[in-house]
Subunit: 282 residues, 2 copies
């Protein structure tokens, strides 16, 4: 028997993967959760029918959502991850020796449990003594803190259901307050091909809150269209002005200092999307 | 009725697209050819069951396979495209005012005819008076010329069937001889995720023939894993040392001078693939 899973990434497009086995399936209070064992990408976490992460390509997304900000900040000590219950972003953050504390605020305990049970390479760092796991509303958690984090990472699902508020300007303002005076926010903001208006809006919101705002891109094989965007807001440090010479490079599969700089080179159609027209005309 | 087309990109992975209509289907002497009208990507050329190009994302591949070399060369006048019967690469080359002649060497007249009939935005430039269309064996064509081209682009299908010879070191040597003394070769060399050994081999071959060799990447939504590689061999001009200030930028949707430079920033796992280990360790 050939078992195939197809994520309908849009109404008109799907990613199909041959499945060895369905390892886990449950309906949590927040979403439908499944762990599939695929032949192409290994084990895969699927939430509400959308691929979140796979064993074989997870490093691209998790390295790129974290290290860009962690190298932009000269001495990151405290970080928060909103969402990201699989633990991949936490694992990457903990590679930096200056990190003293990482708070993971994940609304769905089911995601954390499934990752612990089925995705040990991704979730392993959740047991690190520097990690505090807060199962609950990330928005409420952030609102309760002032001057607490050097880095906040919004590692969310698509802006549906519980994740809608994670793309609001009000939330970005709360993060601004929860960050230290030279803190940095990074949010995953979907694909420029199929979520153009979301990027336009999120980036404009972040521009309205942070003195330095930058959009950057990477290529994630299992995400719709591959091309994936991250929006960065920073109070003081510019990701385009990082002195890598002063820093030890942590072990990575994808990220390096050249990839860091290159991620901010935007194709013309993406520049236009964020109103960077003059640049695009050069 | 919902009609879906699925390209099995590997044995274990597929791209599925909803199809409005099958516009054309034939078996040419070289391959099975189809033009589908998809809802996500518009009209799409499929050869032997593999997506070659689509109306909606074709600019990424066609701009990246051409402009990197065309801007690296200070005064490109004569170019050859091997394969590329859809005309997209030819269209991009002709944007450069210095170009006097483009030879298209496509083995399958059916591809050219289908592109002319169904993909006018991609094939339009094939009627430009600077274009010479040679229907036949690109390898034989290249072998017959010395010192003839400033730029040679290998815009091939996957290395199966008629395209196998286009990935051989013998062919790269012939191109070296067909190029002028400061000529440049660019070849599409597939995905680092699913064609790692092909990239390793093609790049090593090109390294063995050209004094300057560089691998660069882009993200093509409709190609397997999205991440796509191009191998460049150059006799004199280094694509990392382009003086863009001296050049007029041609109109593009994707390519610009920042994207040019960024394309050469390789993730660590790709650096390792081409033996660039020391760099990766930095």
């Amino acid at each position: 028997m050939e078992l195939w899973y197809t994520e309908k990434q849009t109404e008109n497009m799907g990613l199909s993967l041959k499945v060895r086995n369905v390892l886990h399936r449950e309906t949590t209070p927040y979403q439908e959760l499944a762990v599939l064992d695929t032949l192409q990408y290994g084990r895969m976490l699927v939430l509400d029918g959308m691929v979140q992460t796979t064993e074989k390509d997870e490093y691209v997304y998790h390295e790129m959502i974290t290290h860009v900000a962690l190298y932009t900040h000269p001495n990151p000590r405290r970080a928060a991850v909103i969402g990201g219950g699989d633990g991949g972003a936490v694992r990457e953050i903990l590679k930096h020796p200056s990190i003293e504390k990482v708070v993971l605020a994940e609304i769905d305990a089911g995601v954390i449990e499934a990752a612990r049970s089925y995705l040990p390479n991704i979730s392993s760092a959740l047991d690190d003594p520097r990690v505090e796991i807060m199962v609950g509303d990330g928005i409420a958690h952030i609102k309760a803190w002032r001057n607490a984090y050097d880095i906040v990472i919004i590692d969310s699902t698509e802006p549906v259901g519980a994740a809608v508020g994670l793309f609001s300007q009000d939330f970005y303002r709360s993060i601004d307050e929860a960050l230290t005076e030279d803190g940095i926010l990074v949010a995953q903001t979907e694909s420029p091909y199929v979520n153009a208006s979301l990027i336009e809006q999120s980036f404009r919101y972040i521009q309205g809150v942070f003195p330095i705002s930058r959009l950057y891109l990477t290529c994630v094989p299992t995400y719709p269209t591959g091309l994936w965007s991250f929006s960065l807001g920073s109070k003081k440090h510019d990701p385009l002005q990082v002195d890598f010479g002063a820093r030890q490079m942590v072990p990575t599969v994808y990220y390096n200092s050249d990839v860091h700089r290159a991620a901010f080179a935007l194709p013309n159609f993406v520049r236009r999307l964020i109103g960077d027209l003059e640049e695009a005309a050069r």
